[in-house]
């Protein structure tokens, strides 16, 4: 399609059997081998964007321990996105308890009303009941039996999809995909709180604000992006595993990891939305047999599980990372390892967005 003919509302939609693409697409790559599960990303996001009333239970970025049910509980089996022939796949709206919500604690009873010796801090969910789920309920749980138990940390956020199911679902056109960088935004002036987007997003990354009565989600820190500052989650990440950049920038880490080295893969490609967050899958030590001896070619994290997340290409991706790692440990050069290690911060992680936000002129107060 000729880019000159594209109207803003068309970007990200299927029109005449073709997905209308933005001029450029921002993307992230997360190297799962480096995630510490520290949740600094989630907290950075919360501090920056979701501190207001009605946003208490919102975690635009979450870091789940997997395998597990995740956030919201059981999201992978909820449907949404598109079928292989491009039809919308029905789903449902995840409930507050499934997201985990924000618990209330009896602080005043324990701390100020003299009952501190008998009463203990106990959480209550939005119904005033004992919570049965939380935003990070399965921390460090994982799967498998000792000595072959395993888990890894799995950061997730809105994928700013090339064919966003949320955008296609909104009957009001309140969601748009920016032509200059592909960021997907909900216009909360246009949103009427119908929540079709929450239903349609197969990654279940949209929350409902019960105070403002609108749907809200990750905005890829677009006001920071516009100032040359990396998104808060990426800049604050102590693991230095969140790469940010344009997908078509052949010199940048994103294009190298996704298109050239092919070691970064989208999550659940079969959902059909063409996500723009990519993952370098985790390597793991070999499984042990009953005598405690390593079983060659049987990684502790079962390949079948990784395939269920990243598809069959995950085998090749792991093999490439493994081979380059071996090269590097023999003292040979490896561009891939250099990229993944990210020696120079912030330049190697997000070359186009290295500006220190502390150097920006601030109009208001309260910036992180």
């Amino acid at each position: 399609m000729d880019s000159k003919e594209i109207a803003a509302w068309q970007v990200g939609r299927e029109i005449g059997g073709e997905i209308v693409r933005p001029k450029r697409q921002l993307a992230m790559v997360f190297d799962l081998n480096k995630c510490l599960g520290c949740h600094t990303c989630s907290i950075a996001c919360k501090t920056q964007w979701t501190r207001e009333e009605g946003m208490e239970g919102m975690w635009w970025n979450v870091v789940n321990t997997v395998p597990g049910q995740g956030t919201p509980k059981g999201w992978e089996a909820m449907g949404g996105g598109f079928t292989p022939n491009g039809n919308a796949r029905p789903s449902r709206i995840p409930g507050r308890e499934e997201f985990g919500d924000a618990w209330q604690f009896n602080q005043s009873e324990v701390l100020y009303e003299g009952a501190g010796k008998e009463a203990h801090l106990t959480p209550k969910n939005f119904k005033g009941e004992k919570p049965s789920w939380g935003p990070n309920w399965e921390e460090d749980q994982g799967a498998g039996e000792y000595p072959n138990s395993y888990f890894f940390y799995f950061p997730r956020m809105c994928n700013h999809c090339t064919h966003p199911a949320c955008l296609e679902a909104c009957p009001r056109g309140a969601i748009h995909k920016r032509e200059q960088d592909g960021i997907v935004l909900i216009d909360d002036q246009k949103c009427k709180g119908y929540r079709f987007c929450m239903e349609a997003c197969p990654y279940k990354r949209i929350y409902y604000n019960h105070v403002r009565l609108v749907s809200q989600k990750c905005i890829f820190c677009f006001p920071r992006i516009e100032q040359g500052v990396a998104p808060a989650c990426a800049r604050q990440c102590p693991g230095r595993l969140r790469f940010v950049g344009y997908l078509d920038d052949e010199k940048g880490p994103i294009n190298k990891l996704v298109a050239q080295w092919k070691v970064a893969l989208p999550l659940h490609e079969e959902f059909g939305t063409q996500p723009n967050v990519y993952y370098v899958p985790p390597l793991s030590p070999p499984k042990l047999d009953a005598d405690g001896n390593p079983i060659p070619n049987e990684p502790r994290i079962p390949l079948g599980y990784l395939e269920s997340l990243f598809g069959p290409r995950v085998r090749d991706a792991l093999a490439v990372v493994e081979a380059e790692k071996a090269k590097r440990s023999r003292g040979e050069p490896s561009e891939l390892m250099d990229i993944l290690i990210g020696y120079k911060w912030p330049d190697d992680l997000f070359p186009d967005f290295t500006k220190d936000p502390a150097t920006l002129h601030r109009g208001g107060e309260g910036d992180a």
Binding site: E14, N87, A88, R89, P90, S91, R92, I93, P94, G95, R96, E97, F99, F126, K127, A165, E168, A169, C170, P171, R172, G173, K190, K192, Y194, R195, F196, M198, E199, A200, Y208, H210, L213
Partner: protein, 218 residues
């Protein structure tokens, strides 16, 4: 239908349970589900193609005025009221009256250059209707200069909602976006009803496919 002119105070006029309403027969307005082909979303199409929505089959409509105020009373069957939104998948019952702001306005949400005014009541914000203007499907937005508020009062009783919309007969200026009424005048309106328990919202509703003609007694 004829809107009688009666000598009754504003408070009583705005009360759906007031006895005077019993003196005026209700006009039965047939409702149908909005055709699935008109749903402005691939997702809604896919999910609701075979689903049942637009549960209300008919509404009873009455209208009276007292020379300064006009009141519409709408009554429809709704087994279990959905009046609060606590969880993410809760939706509240709702009802709307739609008035053309131009002679050419199509009944379904108006068109460009031929807007409609929509009085949208929702059970979870029961005291006033949200006033919207629309110029086509998916375009409704809050009226910018809502100078003439529409008060609402509803009761749910015996498996039915009874709702009254009450407004000053004459719209205050600037009144471009407001429905206009004149004693002795002829007007038109349409009706829509949403069932919250069935997750009805947006185009998932029951609506009157034909205009209701209204004459105000002079």
């Amino acid at each position: 239908m004829l809107a009688k002119r009666i000598d009754i105070g504003a408070d009583t006029l705005g009360d759906p349970a007031a006895a005077f309403w019993g003196r005026f027969p209700a006009r039965k307005v047939s409702l149908v589900p909005t055709p699935v082909g008109l749903q402005n979303s691939k997702y809604v199409l896919a999910k609701w193609r075979d689903g049942e929505y637009g549960h209300a089959r008919a509404a009873g409509l009455q209208c009276v005025h007292n020379g300064t105020e006009i009141a519409f009373r709408l009554e429809w069957e709704c087994e279990k009221a959905a009046a609060s939104v606590i969880d993410n998948d809760h939706f509240a019952d709702a009802a709307a009256l739609l008035f053309p702001l131009s002679d050419l306005a199509p009944l379904i949400m108006g068109a460009e250059g031929a807007p409609v005014s929509i009085w949208h009541w929702r059970a979870d914000r029961p005291k006033a209707a949200r006033l919207n203007v629309a110029t086509g499907i998916g375009t409704s937005s809050l009226t910018r200069n809502a100078t003439t508020p529409v008060e609402t009062k509803a009761v749910h009783h015996g498996g039915r909602w009874a709702l009254v919309y009450r407004r000053a007969l004459e719209a205050r200026l600037p009144a471009d976006d407001a429905a206009k009424f004149t004693p002795g005048g002829h007007h038109r309106l349409a009706v829509a009803v949403w069932s919250g328990a069935n997750a009805e919202r947006a185009g998932l509703k029951a609506y009157s496919p034909e205009w209701v003609e209204l004459e105000l007694e002079a």
